[in-house]
Amino acid sequence: MTRRSLRLRRRAFISASGAAVISLPLFEAFEPKLARAAAGIPRFIGFYVANGKHMPAWKPTTDGPEYALTPTLMPLTALKKKFLVLTGLENKGAEREVGGGHARGTGSFLTCTNIHTASEISSGSRPNGISADQVMADEIGKSSRIASLQLGLTNNGRDQGYGSEFIQNISFDKNGKFKPKTIVASSAFDTLFQGFDPTASAADVERRNKLKASVLDFAVEQAKALSPTISHSDNTKLDQYLTSVRELEQRLQSSGSGAAACAGATKPSNPMAVPDQVKAMMDVMVLGLQCNITRVITYMLGNGGDGAINGFPWLDISDHHHAIAHHQNQQVNFDKLMKVNLWEIQELAYLLGKLDAIDEGGSTLLDNTLVLYSSEISDGNRHNHDDLPVLLAGGRNLGVNSGQHLRFNKTPIASLFLSLIQLMGATSVTKFGDDGATPLPGVVT
């Protein structure tokens, strides 16, 4: 490891934790181990933005490696070689001749499977299919302490005919049940770093872990005793509880390494302004990946439809995002949408920049991370689910053929997810969602 990369990484780490007080000696002591452990490990971020894009300002008109960046993509200029623009991808899972276009788009955002309405679910239909991030978590999540993390900005919004789970969440387990997200950066930080106390001796840590293991054992014992006394369908819920207990037990067994390596990172404050909240959460995301505490994260920058950001005072826009997304072909709304879309990409650029500033032995964390960026719809007026605004950033070290605009025509986005699942190392997975039968051509070198 060169001195230069060490300096780079430390600087990145300091900014990653905001006003953090870094315990440098301890940090340095663990650093080489961390770098060895993390280099080349594939990681994934599923990044959702609400209410589509103003597509004329988004979609490149030229193809291939020499394509010209569009106005909305300008904040990514410095990283142009490190992402793919994918146009013409379609999520058929979101399409159905019923209302609730935002719920359908968001619920199936990472599942590519038709979601079911509240009445259908109460009649016994599964709510949804499994999301791509959860396929990854099930396949490779166990190799880190936390199999997956669901994060976002807000918890509001609901679309007609559906429960709020489909507009507020994009991660769904193998039973199609939503995995709720954390929207407070300090809480997400606690999830990553709980129990790590730099002042604790090894014996203290062992004792604490032993106590927690006893508590979890007790929970298993109680669940097993409860099982025969409750109905079959209640047992499905209890099974989910037991799965959760077991996952926490696994976290306990693998606790220490990641958290210790990132010793000194301190809890972020919980800022009030939306752009600050977004950045605080991104800092936590980067920490989680950098320290290899988790490998799979989803993030929602607002929720679809009425759950989206209500007013952008930092952009001098007071309208609800949903209201301007229904642009009615009015230039005044196009102008506002372009400002909002540009800001969204600036936030993405912040995240990618941070990932790219972290050296992992010759490549960067960004090079080892697949960052999928898209929205639940394409155009806010039409609510169409074809020609989605998709970016795939990072992953060069994993084989992504980045730095191009690839144009498709109503090609299933499920194919892209299949590619990503395989790039994450789950090579035995050969289909995904309703229509992901083959990997997406051109994505992998």
Binding site: E97, G99, T117, A118, S119, E120, S122, I146, Q150, R158, Q160, G161, Y162, G163, S164, E165, Q168, N169, K177, F178, K179, P180, K181, T182, S187, D190, T191, L211, S214, V215, L216, F218, A219, Q222, A225, I230, S231, D234, K237, L238, Y241, S244, V245, L248, N310, G311, P313, S318, H320, A323, I324, H326, H327, Q328, N329, Q330, V332, N333, R382, H383
Partner: protein
């Protein structure tokens, strides 16, 4: 200012055609799922949970109970339960927990989605540790709640502490085997008596018996439906009326066999509604029923300088205060729509232009009557920069009448409204309301919204818009004419669908699940049993006393 396009201010053409045109207005209670919104055969039916089902004239029908699934405590229920078990306020802590979902009818306590995913269990485990640690401090509130005896170094006392807490937390008497297991868990700490108790408390607070509301299988051979156990009924009652765990008296009634008859339930409901914890019903049932929680995420244009987060909180409080008052005073449910007074603080009184004495303002001389004259509803149904007659209309149909609103219009329909700096919204909406394909749906929603146009986007009273006089007159869905907001409120209060709707909402919240056809009939029976001008308190009590409230279905 340029127009923000109304999301719902659109021609609701295709899907509505036929479903409502000339049909719906004047018809009470379309059968569930057949009303507006289900014209496309799709998600409209999804809210069968509360849609439709009829006024008080619902015919005799067998009340088949639906199955009430095991469910995790909601985050609010968890917060209140910890408050009552340990005297600890975990509101701030819980704000960082992964959030609960809302069912299609807007309630967070619907069992369908109340699971324990890993990252949720994780925060419950952390919270249990935090709470148990607090109990280690001598003199702490948590310790006082636990300490049925004080010598925790003594094994017999420890067992008593653990058993007493488990009985409360698990909402039923624990078995001696369970207490043995808890004592064994405590012993694995193998240090002080305090540590024993703390570890057992951690176990109690993450056990499925605590995190889930468990209802056990009936004796083998039971068929069809059956009545849940007394302790299970106690929990159903306490989470309905308090959003919290049963108190000692309720648990004692259950244990003593005095929570069996309708009179028993009636006695407990009266006692519970008189308890200050009944504020939980306003803060959870009413706030979700009336969508008040949307206010916390609501932003308004900077031009509305009066609007602050403090004012927004005052608005919510006004609405929940009225609900509490109507319950406490035994007033008719329709008082929620007709009250000519308001519980307002100084900033809100200023917004209303009224004087306030002892937290109460006389609104008799204003157009404000009940919730439709309250700033909370008027604000949360507006856009940041203007009112929306469509959103207000939909809010009334959906929440007060249990009529499923029409679906949004098809994409790509030009719904552009004219320049908002000229004339009134009624004038700007006139063109597309004149379009027959749009009118089918808009004739249902718009008159109600137009009737509230005297209130701006933060609920201030106004008589003009852009210097043009506002015309708030119209015809209610049954054709009766009104001239102004106060008259509209009266007409809605006289609509039998209102009381039927309150009953449906109460039952959906009380049971925490989507309603079956039998449940709809039960809600109708509740409305009927409660008399011509039923007191809100009676609707609540009759919901709790209705057989379906205590029934469970054997799983096929």
């Amino acid at each position: 200012m340029k127009p923000a396009i109304a999301i719902f201010a659109l021609p609701l053409a295709l899907a509505c055609t036929g479903a409502i045109s000339g049909e719906m207005p004047g018809h009470d209670g379309a059968p569930a799922g057949s009303g507006i919104g289900s014209g496309s055969g799709g998600p409209g039916a999804a809210s069968a949970g509360t849609s439709g089902a009829g006024g008080p004239d619902v015919g005799p029908q067998e009340t088949v109970p639906g199955r009430t699934p095991m469910r995790r405590l909601t985050l609010t229920e968890y917060t209140y339960t910890i408050r009552d078990l340990l005297g600890e306020d975990v509101t701030t802590l819980v704000a960082g927990f992964p959030a609960d979902g809302l069912s299609a009818d807007g309630f967070d306590n619907n069992a369908a989605s109340l699971e324990v995913q890993t990252n949720q269990l994780d925060v419950f485990v952390q919270a249990a540790d935090t709470l148990a640690t607090r109990a280690l401090t001598q003199g702490s509130v948590a310790r006082q709640h636990l300490a049925v005896c004080s010598e925790w170094a003594d094994a017999a006392c420890r067992r008593q502490v653990v058993q007493s807490f488990a009985d409360k937390a698990w909402r039923r008497p624990t078995t001696s085997a369970e207490v043995d297991q808890l004592v064994a868990l405590g012993a694995s700490a193998a240090t002080s008596g305090d540590d024993h108790v703390a570890l057992a408390v951690r176990g109690i607070l993450i056990a499925p018996q605590f995190l889930f509301r468990v209802e056990k299988l009936p004796p083998a051979g039971t068929a069809g439906s059956y009545r849940v156990s007394a302790h299970e009924l106690a929990a159903r009652l306490s989470y309905f009326l308090w959003s919290s765990t049963p108190d000692d008296k309720l648990a004692q009634s259950a244990a003593a066999g005095t929570l069996v008859t309708s009179a028993d339930v009636s006695r407990e409901v009266s006692r519970m509604l008189a308890d200050e914890k009944a504020a939980g019903l306003a803060d959870n049932f009413a706030a979700q029923w009336l969508a008040l929680r949307n206010l916390s995420g609501h932003a308004v244009d900077a031009a509305f300088k009066d609007y602050t987060s403090a004012l927004s909180a005052s608005m919510s409080k006004e609405t929940t205060s009225l609900f509490n008052y109507v319950v406490a005073q035994g007033l008719p449910a329709t008082e929620l729509l007709t009250a000519s007074y308001g519980f307002v603080d100084d900033p809100l009184a200023k917004l209303y232009g009224v004087s306030v004495a002892n937290g109460r303002a006389d609104l008799g001389m204003t157009e404000r009557r009940g919730v439709l004259g309250q700033a909370a509803l008027l604000t949360l149904t507006s856009y940041p920069n203007r009112t929306s007659i469509v959103r207000r209309g939909i809010w009334v149909l959906n929440n007060l009448l249990c009529v499923e609103p029409p679906p949004p219009p098809p994409p790509d329909v030009d719904t552009t409204l004219p320049d908002p700096s000229k004339g009134t919204l009624r004038e700007r909406m006139a063109a597309h309301r004149a379009n027959p394909t749009c009118a089918g749906c808009h004739d249902l929603m718009d008159p109600i919204g137009l009737g509230l146009e005297n209130f701006d986007a933060i609920g201030r009273y106004r008589e003009t818009e852009n210097s043009v006089a506002i015309d708030a007159s119209g015809n209610y869905t049954d054709g009766r004419a009104f001239k102004r907001p106060s008259e509209l409120s009266t007409l809605i209060a006289e609509d039998p669908r209102f009381v039927a709707c309150v009953s449906e909402k109460l039952l959906a919240f009380g049971l925490g699940r989507g309603l079956t056809s039998g449940d709809h009939a039960a809600a109708g029976a509740v409305a009927q049993a409660s008399g011509a001008q039923p007191a809100l308190r009676d609707l609540i009590a009759n919901t709790a006393q209705n057989p379906v409230f205590a029934e469970q279905m054997v799983e096929p």
